[in-house]
């Protein structure tokens, strides 16, 4: 492989990750506020289909993207209503929506199967795109990929640097304490869930109007990305930077699977495509194993020096979710 093809490949990795970036950031915001939106897998499909249909019929790509966000926001609103107002299991409602939205996208998307529609074009950024290596990697993308880059840093800065972001952390951590500090906990949860949902919805058109343009129904190959985004959110420890790292790692693995295809001819392509899943399970294992009780017991049985090393290692890998994730808030 030449350096040029590797560069093109890596730039492709960055672009192909953009839908997942939005989904992971959206889910991170929602979960930071204490609401788990499990509907993601269906939302992305429905948003992909809906935005493609709108962009196709109106020939307006921007309208398509807005439709995707609207769909994500509406689905998230249902999750929020059921979880926050009705205090039902967010997992149950999210799961049902995941399946329902998926089937709905297949049903409504039937007429758009395989039609060719509008697609976002690359917009190289003047001057910067001519830089060696960096220009090729970062500055010859379409608009939505640039936005995905910006979204990572904006979300990170919002959560960890701004006043409302601090409150957001507080709402997911201990809503009662956020409440006495003046937060309208349930309203904020609604807002973040809906905004998060809109970002998740943005992943749909980022697929169907950009990285994987078009709608192919069940063979679109989009089914499953929502579940991956959910895993990456955990892997990312509810931090947009770490989540973005996980997303790019995942995209890189998928690309490697494709690149290695000609070398590993006896392995069907479908198998290589799922290669990241066992890896995902393994990484979840790594970040969670410190929470298992037997580990603590095993540590206690170790000699002092080994214990210290292992304990430090486990603590470094470990991530823990917002303490009030999935728990409805009631004043008193």
């Amino acid at each position: 492989m030449t350096q040029e093809t590797i560069l093109i490949g890596l730039a492709g990795v960055l672009a192909s990750a953009s839908p997942l970036i939005f989904a992971v950031i959206g889910e991170t915001l929602s979960e930071r506020a204490g609401v788990i939106n499990l509907s993601m897998n269906g939302t992305i499909l429905l948003a992909a289909m809906g935005s493609f249909a709108v962009a196709y019929n109106t020939n307006n790509i921007l309208l398509g993207f807005l439709t995707g966000m609207l769909i994500g926001a509406v689905v998230a609103l249902i999750v929020a209503f059921a979880g926050i107002t009705l205090k039902q299991s967010q997992v149950a409602v999210g799961f049902v929506l995941a399946l329902t939205c998926r089937d709905l996208s297949y049903f409504l998307g039937n007429p758009y199967m395989g039609v060719s529609g509008p697609r976002l074009q690359a917009v190289p950024i003047p001057v910067l795109s001519d830089l060696p290596v960096v220009g090729r990697l970062f500055f010859q993308h379409d608009v939505i990929t640039y936005i995905s880059f910006a979204a990572i840093f904006l979300a990170w800065a919002w959560i960890f640097r701004t006043r409302p972001g601090l409150m957001l952390q507080g709402i997911g951590e201990k809503p009662a304490a956020a409440y006495i500090r003046g937060a309208n906990v349930n309203l904020m949860r609604y807002i973040y869930t809906v905004i998060g949902g809109a970002l998740i919805g943005l992943a749909g058109p980022a697929f169907s109007l950009a990285t994987r343009a078009g709608w192919m129904g069940t063979i679109s190959g989009l089914d499953g990305f929502g579940w991956i985004a959910l895993s990456i959110t955990i892997f990312g420890g509810w931090n947009p930077l770490r989540g973005a790292f996980g997303t790019y790692l995942f995209a890189l693995l998928q690309w490697l699977g494709l690149v290695l295809q000609p070398v590993l001819t006896q392995v069907p392509s479908q198998v290589l495509q799922v290669a990241p899943f066992p890896l995902m399970i393994l990484t979840l294992l790594f970040v969670n194993i410190g929470n298992a009780e037997w580990v603590e017991r095993a540590l206690a049985a170790m000699p002092d020096s080994a214990r210290r090393v292992f304990a430090k290692l486990l603590r470094a890998m470990r991530t823990s979710p917002p303490a009030a994730l999935g728990v409805p808030f009631e004043r008193d």
Partner: protein
């Protein structure tokens, strides 16, 4: 008490009507006649003995999966990996069949071994999710989802790799097994009474397990409060594992039936989504085993009936999934509305 139950029924019926209403609107939106669609779906599932037999073919794995899920739900576990457990049941059954393909064992014994093998396969796959949960701290939802994808990949790998048809591998699956390896079917129909009996036995077993036994009570204790159950002396993680194993075995049986009585070979989409559908059924019946049979039958009928839609009306058959999903959603929301605005639910 009776009034409470009637009220409950009224709520469920209300949810049912509402979801038919919503789906009608969706149908109108795509320019189709709701009445025609529902009539076609009804005729497609109950229009003839042959069609009703098809409904039963779908009902068997769905009921088995639902029965299994009731056990993991009782233990407080969201066994979303049930889909993969169905797939592994099918793979294991196929493996047993292939192993005894040229043996001189009586076919009935091979079938029995194949089904037991399927149950074992499903149980082992469930055990994997269980081990990840118990010893790795990995939430069963994420572990299970990952394992589902791996199970699908494994199926495809086997169909295109080691178990491929002579000549060219294809999405149509492995070479069909000889007829004598099939569970006996009713004349002219595709349903096997043996499979039906197995499914009904499964749900009866689960009903008694959860209602009357120490095992069931302990399982519920673990599900409702893991920590307190441990302090009460219940071997908690073992019980979590048992529930995974039981559910996996029942899901594996569903996969085994798919191979032994329906497809007679391994195909890429062998689970037909019955795992996920079983989760919906379990939620809809509020985790009560008594309602499993009618609701699973209804869901199976929707699935089979919707097959007519593409043929007769050029609509996608995923409408069944939409209707099922909207129904479960309304029941969940209705439950929430009742708790919030209707005073105490169980007083």
């Amino acid at each position: 008490m009776l009034k409470g139950r009637l009220g409950n029924l009224a709520y469920q019926l209300g949810a049912l009507l509402l979801s038919f209403g919503v789906v009608s609107l969706i149908l109108l939106a795509v320019g189709a006649s709701p009445m025609e669609a529902f009539r076609n779906m009804f005729n497609g599932s109950f229009g003839s003995m042959r069609k009703f037999a098809e409904v039963l073919v779908a009902f068997v794995p769905l009921l088995l999966v639902t029965a299994g899920l009731l056990v993991t739900f009782a233990a407080g576990l969201w066994n979303i990996g049930v889909e993969g457990q169905v797939v592994l049941g099918a793979i294991a059954t196929t493996w047993v069949y292939r192993f005894f393909l040229d043996s001189s064992l009586p076919p009935a014994l091979v079938i029995l071994l194949a089904i037991l093998g399927g149950m074992l396969g499903g149980a082992l796959w469930a055990a994997l999710a269980g081990l990840l949960k118990v010893f790795g701290g990995v939430n069963e939802i994420f572990g299970g989802l990952g394992l589902n994808f791996v199970a699908t990949a494994l199926t495809i790998y086997l169909i295109f790799g080691p178990w491929k048809r002579p000549g060219v591998a294809s999405m149509s699956g492995t070479v069909p097994f000889p007829d004598e390896f099939s569970l006996p079917l009713l004349t002219d129909l595709r349903i096997s009474p043996w499979a039906l009996a197995l499914a009904l036995m499964g749900i009866v077993f689960v009903y008694f397990l959860l209602q009357g036994t120490y095992f069931g009570l302990r399982l519920k204790a673990v599900g409702k409060n893991f920590r307190a159950a441990y302090l009460l002396g219940i071997p908690t993680w073992q019980y979590s594992m048992y529930s995974f194993l039981i559910c996996g075995a029942l899901a594996g049986a569903a996969g085994a039936i798919q191979v032994a009585a329906v497809y007679h070979r391994l195909i890429p989409s062998i689970s037909s989504g019955y795992g996920y559908l079983g989760l919906m059924v379990a939620m809809l019946i509020n985790y009560q085993a008594v309602w499993a049979v009618p609701v699973a039958l209804f869901f199976a009928a929707l699935n089979i009936g919707s097959i007519q839609l593409p043929i007769l009306m050029k609509l996608d058959s995923s409408l069944a999934g939409v209707l099922q999903g909207v129904l479960v959603l309304f029941v969940l929301l209705g439950e929430g509305v009742r708790q919030k605005f209707g005073g105490r639910a169980n007083s």
